[in-house]
């Protein structure tokens, strides 16, 4: 118990060092801290919660297999999100190959925790914004959702969409402008 609370108070960098020295509970703490942002990033790319859960799982497995190579030049969250982005895009390519269907054609998914009655009462305006969001080009949509939903920096978004920090900023602002135009039309 005391050990757990000690881990809770450690920084990500300290936890990474513990994981590198073989501490598996430090690994669990990193999962607790970052699985949410990893999952939502995968949802933003895949538009499918089941696939996003698979991608998140693979992301953590790959990250911890390679943890000895993590040198701390970027934050562990940035590193995890870059791996999550790769994983989700890889899954997306597989699905596209199988179904020959673009992700842009996929209808927005409801959270699996939502029950039907909740869906009916979901704020219509918010639902409309989310639907319009899906009409944006992929990089713009990801830049907008990751910036707003996750509060990611443009540098982190750049890692995920495989662009520079500046390009992520431009994609975000273009996305917001386009979203406003679409909502007004």
């Amino acid at each position: 118990m005391a050990e757990n609370s000690l881990r809770n108070s450690l920084s990500d960098d300290d936890l990474v060092r513990l994981v590198q020295s073989g501490d598996r509970r430090a690994m669990d703490e990193l999962v607790d801290r970052h699985h949410g942002v990893v999952f939502r990033t995968c949802v933003a790319i895949l538009n499918d919660e089941d696939l996003a859960a698979d991608a998140s799982q693979n992301c953590f497995i790959k990250a911890f297999r390679a943890i000895d190579r993590f040198r701390g030049e970027a934050a562990i969250r940035t590193w995890l999100l870059a791996i999550a982005g790769n994983e989700a895009r890889g899954l997306l390519r597989k699905i596209k190959g199988r179904r020959e269907q673009s992700i842009e054609d996929v209808v927005p998914v409801a959270s699996s925790d939502h029950d039907p009655s909740e869906q009916v009462t979901l704020d219509a305006e918010v639902a409309r914004v989310r639907l319009v969001l899906l009409q944006l080009p992929r990089k713009q949509r990801l830049s907008v959702t990751l910036r707003i939903d996750e509060g990611l920096s443009f540098r982190e978004i750049g890692e995920i969409i495989e662009s520079s920090e500046g390009a992520a900023r431009v994609n975000y602002h273009h996305g917001i402008r386009r979203l406003r135009e679409l909502l007004e039309s």
Partner: protein
Amino acid sequence: MIPPNCATLKDLLPEFVRGELGDERRRWVVEHVTICADCQEEVELLQRIGSDTVRVPAGLAYDIKDALARDHASARRSVRWRVPAAAAVALALGTAVVWERVRSLPEVGPLGREPFAVVWPSDDADVAGAPILEGLSDDDLMLLFEELGG
């Protein structure tokens, strides 16, 4: 510090909506939004987008930890299997190398043959150097005789 311009403030709007700005920056945005209709509209839009974030499945963290534990166990099993396998391969290779070297050594002659025949010339003439002296003239022979202290 001077408040930044509209374009720079727009970068701060997501943090503003999420309530993550420090006091000074939050005040900049609040003051700016009251006079900038464009930024005000953008704040409203961000609030609408941000109010429906995807919920993370309750058991996801547990599933990930479970998958990591299984991956770790499988990696350890793999290491346990690899060590004896690597040792067996190393032993086989070592045996092959030693065998090859033994086979390529010159034959020293088994007992019963003539082990000393190769290194011990049996012809007295070779020892005496007769074939070399054969081609020498009388003068050369005399010179050689003197040099040998004859």
